[in-house]
Structure formats: structure tokens, C-alpha cells
Amino acid sequence: MIPDADRAFAEEARDWLATRLPATLAHKVRHDIRLSRDDLTGWQETLAERNWYAIGWSEDMGGPGLSPLRRYLFDRTYGSLPAPHPCQFGIAMAGPVIHAFGTPEQRARFLPRIRQNRDFWCQGYSEPGAGSDLAALQCAARREGGHYIVTGQKIWTTWAHWADWMFCLVRTAHGARPQEGISFLLIDMTSPGITVRPIRTLDGDAEFNEVFLDEVRVPVENLVGAEGGGWGIAKFLLQHERFSMSGAARSRRILGEIRADAGDRLADPGFLRRLTRAEVDLLALEEIDWRLVQGAGGEADAARLKIRGTEIAQDLSHLRLELKGRAALPLSEGFLQGGTAPDPVAAMALPTWLNLRKLSIWGGSNEVQRMILAKGMGMGK
């Protein structure tokens, strides 16, 4: 089934990653302790040594040019380790967009820096009035000579407080349909007029931000694609990166950890049944993932993987909570920042459950994914 050479590739990758993953970082990831910017970028630097930060990039783009099978195997291998999920905004979003739609100058300027972990990117999409209905965005960009002047507000911008650059959907015109008149701009986060305000979430973390843009001057050279072509680029992105959609590999690791931690609880038939059900759900997800390795996937596949992948991850977070019961109750702010706790798994179970509610909301909410699937089946015409 899997050729020896590909299997060997995955094994070598696993050995190298496991050797290079610092124990302190593995501990943090294993226990969902918050990572610092340095934690994340330091690890990405390690990956970049083997050109594995841009793991999905073609040789054309300067990446490792892995076959779909090797890409799949790498993903599965990587997920089995308690390694940080690398920041995807440059690698999986800005980079592929610049490669597909950008000018030669833009490619030369931005792609190597993304691939080599030089620039930290964030995604300026959602606005207070434009969540699921992203086309309703109002952040305005008016053309003045060699610049766009951008004014508006983005929200739920992950890691904007850490970012060097933001790719941003802005409104350059008002057309007959809201999708017309949207443009894709690359914005330097050090530009005057940008204010970033962290948003505290119910798990105590602050990974999301509000980004206020007040007459920010963005050179015209930072427009990607045609003015008014932004919506098409956004659609390209939705179906482009199907490999990170399912999260199956991470869920496989989590399931293994739950089973290992379960101990006496496995004698509880209710718990065992729910654990077993999760195992079969995950197997189905992995099999759908595997089918896609064989052939090209489309929008529908990405939507299905996103829906089921996020639901399974959320189910697992509840299983872990059930396992720990009352021991999960004391709020241990100190532990979440990197301290010690008598039962580290228990200390993080509830904050993780709360944090992972985001999975079904972000990335195109699961409702939006269902809309895509329904439309694809011809319903609602």
C-alpha cells in the first residue's frame, strides 16, 4: 500500500522532529499551557532548517515539493507529537495567495521571508458587522496617488499582537453585489494608524484581537491581484488548504492520551462506550482524509473535513473533562501561564474545553460550511 521509500521518509521525519522538539515545549503543548511568541517562532525556526515550515509548498514556490502522499504522511507523523501547531497565516494563506495571484516582485519580496520564518502574519478578515457574512465588510481603502488609505476595524484577528504583517480584505468600491469591490491588501503592522487591542476570552487567554486602522497608508504595490478581485482570492483560500482542515492527527494523539490517562474509568461502561464511539468517528475522518490523498479535493471535501474534524476535537475535549471530573474545577491561572500543578492534565481540561468552542466558529463557521455543502447539492435554489 504505502511504498517503502515514503514510509522511510515519514520515519526519518518522526525521528528528527522528536529529537529536535525541546522537552519544555513538548510539556507545554501536551498540557495546553499557553505558548509565547518565542515558543512558537523558535520551533518554526527549527522546522525552517529543513524547509519544513513551508511543508506544503511546491518546489516552484521554494518549498520541499512533497507528493500528496508524503504530505499526508508528514501531517500524520507531526500530529502524533506534542509539537506546536505552526502559525498558518503566512505559510498556508498569505504565501499561496501571493504565489497564485501576486506579481513577480511581490513573490520575490514576501515568499522567501514567509518560508524562512522571517515574518509573522495575521489575517484581517472579520469585522463586528461581518462575521459569517464576510462580504458585508466595510473596512474602506480609498486610492490616493501611490497609496491606499485604509480606515476600519477588524476583529477576532488571531495573534495580531504578535504579527509583523496582516493580509486584509478591504472595500475599495461599492458594487451591485457586496462581493464586488473587495480587494486583498498586504499591510505592514508597524504602519502608523494601527492599534491592536487583545480580546480576553472565557478560558482566560487572549489570542484574538481587535485591529483598528485609522487612515493607514498602504503602498499600491501591496495590492494582490486586481483591485476588486479580493473575493475570488478569499474563495481560493477556502478550498486551498484542505490538509489542515481535519486536525485528525492531533485528535489521534489526544485520543491516545485520554485512553492512557483513563485507568479505572475504562470500567465505566458509559465512558468506555463514548471513548469507543470517538475512536470510530476519528477512524472515519482519517479514512476520508486518506481518500483525498488519492485524488484532488474540492470545496465540499474541505467543508466536510472542517465540520467533522472540529466536532470530533470538541467531543474529545469533553471526554477529557469527564475523565477528570471535579479535579478539573480549580482555576489555575498560574499553571496556564507555565507553572506547576498537581495534575497538569486536570488543570487544563476545562480551559481547553472552553477554548476549543472556537473551532466550530472560526475558519468559516460550521454553519457556513453546511451552507456550502447544501448549495453544492443543489438545495436552496
Binding site: R200, D264, R326, L329, L350
Partner: protein, 316 residues
């Protein structure tokens, strides 16, 4: 005090629960105010030092407190502890609690699924200096344990795990009615907030409430909450009428209330979109309160098993 008076007083008290400034999750001390309200021992008969309001009273007060997510350990400290003390004939201690003395209870004495690890948590009033133990008789042990905060802001302490479990009976069932009512109150408040949000929030040119898929989800949630309410009422009536199936009915009420409230919590966040995840949002405060009760008092599966073990439910 009539149930109606209690309801009014409870609503007023709960509405005064403002945001407590300071560290995330840190609670204010609501115990003295809860005592002023007459809450501790409210379920006990008047001749045992209570207000004689029984399970009906626990439901009314629990529901009002739950709707505001007041982090005050009501079910453990104001219902269960006085009930256990009264059961043991310790009217003096009941009076002490009503006067403001803080007596905690080992959470590990409460029902939980088999194989659940002991937590060592002591719940009830924050800052308790004594913990109630069943030795088998009721006794008080001094408690000098550091204060903790639970994830929903309720105060607690850490002590040695208790090995003894509470026997089924009036005291536990009374407390379960109180918790189920807190869950119901929280669930109903989450429902109202979500319904409001769906009516106001516009996407794709219309309020979200126009989407039939969302309407049906909300309807199903409302039915689940109504089922919980009906079962809690039936448990309260059974307890106050000393019916033989009161324990079974209280577990049925818990099983339904926990399930309905948690589904409502998940849906409230989802239907609010990202805004429901912000720490300041009332939604998120209520969600943490719901989860904390599920973990503390046992989830659906736990109470379904206890329902089965509690014997048959008598038809009306």
C-alpha cells in the same frame, strides 16, 4: 416568607451581583448577603429552624441564583449542609450556619461516575473554617486549607479527599433539586440572551432569527429546558410530599437539567458567534457556571445510573 416573597428577594439579590473587579475568575464574598436573605436552611421545616419552604423554596432560589450565575455555593452550603445537620439533630449548628458561620462539605461525598479521581475539594461557603464529615455520625473537623477559586468563580478549598459517600435520601435529593434549578436558571437565561441575539444580529441582509435551521435549533433547546423544568417541579413536589420516589425523581431532574443546560451553553456560544467567547460576555459567565455544576454534581450519565438504582417512579 412565602415562595413569592422569596422569589422577589432572590431576584433582587441576584441582580446585585455585579462584575467583581480583579483577577480573572476571582469571586466576591456573597455568603453574608445570602445569609441575610435567609437562604441557609430555607428547606428545613420551621420546627427544625428553617423557613419551611422545602424543595419548592430550593427551586425558586436556585433558579434565580442560576440565572445570574451567582458564585456562592448555594446548593452545598445553604441547602445540603443544613439538611445534613438537621438530620443529625444538630439544631444548634443549623442556627450557627444561619447566623453566618461557614461550614464546608467535601465534594467527593457527592455522586460521581465510577473511577472518577478524588479531588479533595471542599465546597460551600468560601472561607470555611470547618468541614462537615460523616463519621458515620455528623461531625465537624477544623479546616485550615488555602482558598481556591473554581473556574466559575465559586470559592472552594483544598483538603484531603473524603472516602465516604453521601447516602441517598432527603438531604442529597434536596441539594440536587437546588443544583438542577441553578442549571435551569442558567439555561433559561442563556436561551433568552441567545434569542435576543438572533433577533438583533443581521447577516446576509436579515436577522439570524429568520434562518429556519436556527429557529429549529432554538425550539429544540426550549423543549429540553421545559422538560427539565417539569422534572424539577415533580422532584420538588415528591420531596415536599415525602413521596417514596423522591430520590429517583431528583436524579431524573438532574440528568435532564445537566443535559439541557450544557447543550444550551454550547449552542449559546455557537449561535452568538465569537462574541459569546469573550470573557466579559454574560454568556461566557453562565457557560462556566453550567460546566462547573456538571463537573461538581455529576453529569447526565451519572444521574441516569443513580435514577435506575433509586427504584421505580410511582405514577400519579
Amino acid at each position: 416568607m412565602s415562595l413569592h416573597d422569596l422569589e422577589d428577594a432572590a431576584r433582587r439579590f441576584a441582580a446585585t451581583r455585579g462584575r467583581v473587579p480583579g483577577e480573572f475568575g476571582a469571586a466576591g464574598d456573597y455568603w453574608p448577603a445570602l445569609c441575610d436573605l435567609g437562604a441557609p436552611g430555607l428547606t428545613l421545616p420551621e420546627d427544625a429552624g428553617g423557613l419551611g419552604l422545602g424543595a419548592g423554596g430550593a427551586m425558586v432560589l436556585g433558579r434565580a441564583l442560576g440565572a445570574q450565575a451567582v458564585p456562592v455555593g448555594f446548593a452545598a452550603g445553604a441547602v445540603l449542609v443544613p439538611e445534613l445537620l438537621a438530620q443529625a439533630g444538630r439544631a444548634d449548628l443549623v442556627a450557627a450556619v444561619q447566623a453566618g458561620e461557614r461550614i464546608g462539605l467535601a465534594a467527593d461525598m457527592l455522586p460521581s461516575a465510577p473511577g472518577t479521581p478524588p479531588s479533595g475539594l471542599v465546597i460551600g461557603p468560601g472561607g470555611a473554617t470547618q468541614v462537615l464529615v460523616l463519621d458515620p455520625g455528623v461531625a465537624l473537623r477544623p479546616l485550615s486549607a488555602p482558598d481556591l477559586v473554581l473556574a466559575d468563580g465559586t470559592p472552594a478549598q483544598q483538603s484531603a479527599p473524603a472516602t465516604m459517600r453521601l447516602a441517598p435520601g432527603r438531604a442529597l435529593s434536596m441539594a440536587l433539586v437546588a443544583v438542577a434549578s441553578e442549571l435551569l436558571g442558567a439555561g433559561e437565561r442563556l436561551f433568552a440572551l441567545t434569542l435576543d441575539h438572533l433577533s438583533l444580529r443581521r447577516q446576509f441582509g436579515a436577522p439570524l432569527a429568520r434562518a429556519q435551521a436556527l429557529q429549529f435549533r432554538m425550539v429544540d433547546l426550549s423543549i429540553a429546558l421545559e422538560e427539565a423544568r417539569a422534572l424539577i417541579l415533580s422532584a420538588a413536589e415528591a420531596l415536599d410530599g415525602a413521596a417514596p420516589d423522591a430520590d429517583a425523581r431528583s436524579h431524573a431532574a438532574m440528568a435532564r437539567a445537566v443535559n439541557a443546560a450544557r447543550k444550551m451553553a454550547e449552542e449559546a456560544i455557537q449561535l452568538h458567534g465569537a462574541i459569546g467567547m469573550t470573557a466579559e460576555a454574560t454568556v461566557s459567565v453562565l457557560v462556566r457556571a453550567v460546566l462547573a455544576r456538571e463537573l461538581l454534581w455529576g453529569g447526565e450519565e451519572c444521574h441516569l445510573a443513580l435514577f435506575r438504582a433509586a427504584g421505580p417512579v410511582s405514577p400519579r
